[in-house]
């Protein structure tokens, strides 16, 4: 398959091999070491590193600056961009900023509502929504024009992605929603972290029935559970998350000091099962504040070493 951008992630996916991405959360301060250290931990085990954008509306070092750091280290960043905080001028501007450092991947999101974060009294922007942002990046790249119509000097060459949550409600529109994102121009999808594999496989089947798996690369989101407490928290308190009771039980039945190990084991088992699902092009391993486990997970899932392109 031909690639349209210089993105390493795109090249690996286009070659038909499984891709692995992971994410790093920037610090709540200006220390660049916080990013570079995390990136060092995982760099040989992933093809690209997502940098989150003020996730959960908690103010952090901006994704763009962190992505530049990653790029300067010689690694492959994925710029996550939410529409909550920036209007269309700032969004296009930041895209150009990223492109000026040849950052070649972008993930377009709406962003959690600001009431979840540290600035609940702030405005939110949502000048565009996540699908319209996908359209915008494609327009800037493929037409070489700004939204306003003027030409862009040296248009961005970015591989465009969107998120998908097979577990949010209502279920009946989750696949139409995927179709819509593809129509908007999404080229790769990173899903919300998966614990209910049956439901996920059901979603994949519906996607395959429409041929969507051939129109977009789907990377399955995986987050290892650190404890039974984390499983319960994610089950009850995080919107759009589907954690089966069986999983909570399996962790609760494990002695406390072994729960983290069991969580990793479950993650690896799930990845091995999902590797066999038709239409899965790779994995997005989100081990938040547990980045040091990514190498072990990737290796045990049989995805090491990473291919070179």
């Amino acid at each position: 398959m031909k690639t349209k951008t210089p993105s390493r992630l795109e090249k690996i996916l286009a070659s038909g091999q499984m891709a692995v991405t992971s994410e790093c959360g920037p610090p709540r301060g200006s220390d660049p070491d916080a990013i570079t250290k995390k990136a060092e931990l995982i760099k040989d085990h992933v093809d690209a590193i997502n940098i989150t954008d003020n996730q959960t509306s908690v103010t952090r070092l901006c994704s763009l600056a962190a992505c530049i750091r990653i790029k300067l280290m010689g690694l492959e960043p994925v710029l996550q961009m939410v529409t909550r905080d920036r209007n269309r001028i700032a969004l296009q501007s930041d895209i150009l900023g990223a492109a000026s450092y040849d950052i070649a991947n972008i993930l377009c999101l709406s962003g959690d509502h600001q009431s979840f974060g540290d600035c609940a009294q702030g405005q939110n922007v949502h000048d565009l929504d996540s699908m319209q942002l996908v359209q915008t990046v494609r327009h800037m790249r493929d037409e070489g024009k700004f939204l306003g119509g003027d030409d862009i000097k040296r248009p961005p060459q970015m591989f465009v992605g969107a998120a998908a949550n097979p577990f949010a409600d209502p279920f009946e529109i989750r696949v139409p929603r995927l179709a819509k994102k593809i129509k908007a121009g999404a080229e790769f999808i990173q899903t919300q972290c998966i614990y209910n594999l049956d439901k996920f496989e059901e979603w994949m089947k519906l996607a395959r029935d429409r041929g969507l798996h051939e129109q977009v690369y789907i990377l399955a989101g995986m987050t290892p559970m650190k404890s039974a407490g984390m499983a319960k928290y994610m089950k009850n308190r995080v919107p759009g998350m589907d954690v089966p009771d069986a999983l909570v039980k399996r962790l609760s039945d494990t002695p406390k000091e072994k729960q983290a190990e069991e969580g990793i084991k479950i993650c690896i088992e799930d990845m091995q099962r999902l590797k066999e699902v038709e239409g899965i092009s790779g994995f997005h391993v989100m081990a938040i504040e547990w980045e040091e486990m990514v190498p072990e997970i990737v290796e045990a899932a049989g995805l090491y070493p990473r291919p070179s392109v």
Partner: protein, 222 residues
């Protein structure tokens, strides 16, 4: 209608404490329906204020009056002859009324007695909820009559977002997800296929972003 909510009386007391002759002015329309600024609320507020100041050893003149509306010249003119006997007005009309009063009676301090909240409907007595934010370019025909601008916390044009849970919004378990409602309505109208049409980027220039707005109808101007 415009939905407003009574201001805490402490705020109003703070505004009028240095005035002696106050008129509490209500409005017979929207604020009456949402029970925040009608004739009855004028009575309650005036009585409470009188008692408060008497308790502090000050007898202020606090009169009551309710106009049909405070957003039309002719009604606000009705008090032109009597207004000079007061040194302040507490208007418990919506923000429009307070401002129109202030424009008309330049030298008269006007204080708001309610917080104006949104354009909405009476779901039941005692419960008013938002429906419209006046974006200036109504898209309800595309969304089955449910507005994603006013009823979606992120005003996504191609929703729902990934936080929609059991038909409710991620920010409040009791707030219906606007896009869940839209999907259900499209199904009921047998137009579910329209869901996959991408909604274009919105022109917000007719919204608040474009600056204070106006509507002109030359055909009815004199």
């Amino acid at each position: 209608m415009i939905v407003a909510d009574k201001k805490p009386i402490e705020e109003i007391i703070e505004d009028i404490k240095d005035h002696q002759k106050i008129l509490v002015l209500g409005c017979n329309e929207c604020v009456t329906v949402c029970e925040a600024g009608g004739k009855k609320e004028v009575g309650i507020l005036a009585s409470a204020l009188r008692m408060y100041f008497l308790n502090k050893g000050q007898e202020k003149k606090i009169d009551e009056h309710t106009l049909e509306r405070q957003c039309d010249h002719e009604y606000l003119e009705e008090i032109r002859d009597d207004i000079d006997q007061y040194d302040a007005v507490v208007s418990i009309a919506c923000g429009v009324g307070v401002q129109f009063m202030a424009e008309k009676y330049l030298a008269m301090p006007v204080y708001p007695g309610v917080n104006t909240c949104f354009m909405g409907a009476t779901e039941e007595r005692g419960l008013w909820t938002e429906r419209c934010q006046g974006c200036g370019q109504c898209i309800l025909s595309r969304t089955g009559g449910i507005c994603p601008v006013s009823r979606c916390a992120k005003r996504v044009m191609n929703g729902p977002c990934g936080g929609s849970t059991k038909g409710m919004c991620e920010i409040d378990k009791e707030l219906p997800c606007a896009w869940q409602l839209i999907v259900e309505r499209l199904k009921a109208l047998e137009r579910f296929a329209e869901y996959e049409e991408l909604s274009p980027i919105k022109d917000w220039s007719t919204d608040r972003a474009g600056g204070p707005r106006k509507v002109v109808r030359e055909d009815v101007q004199s």
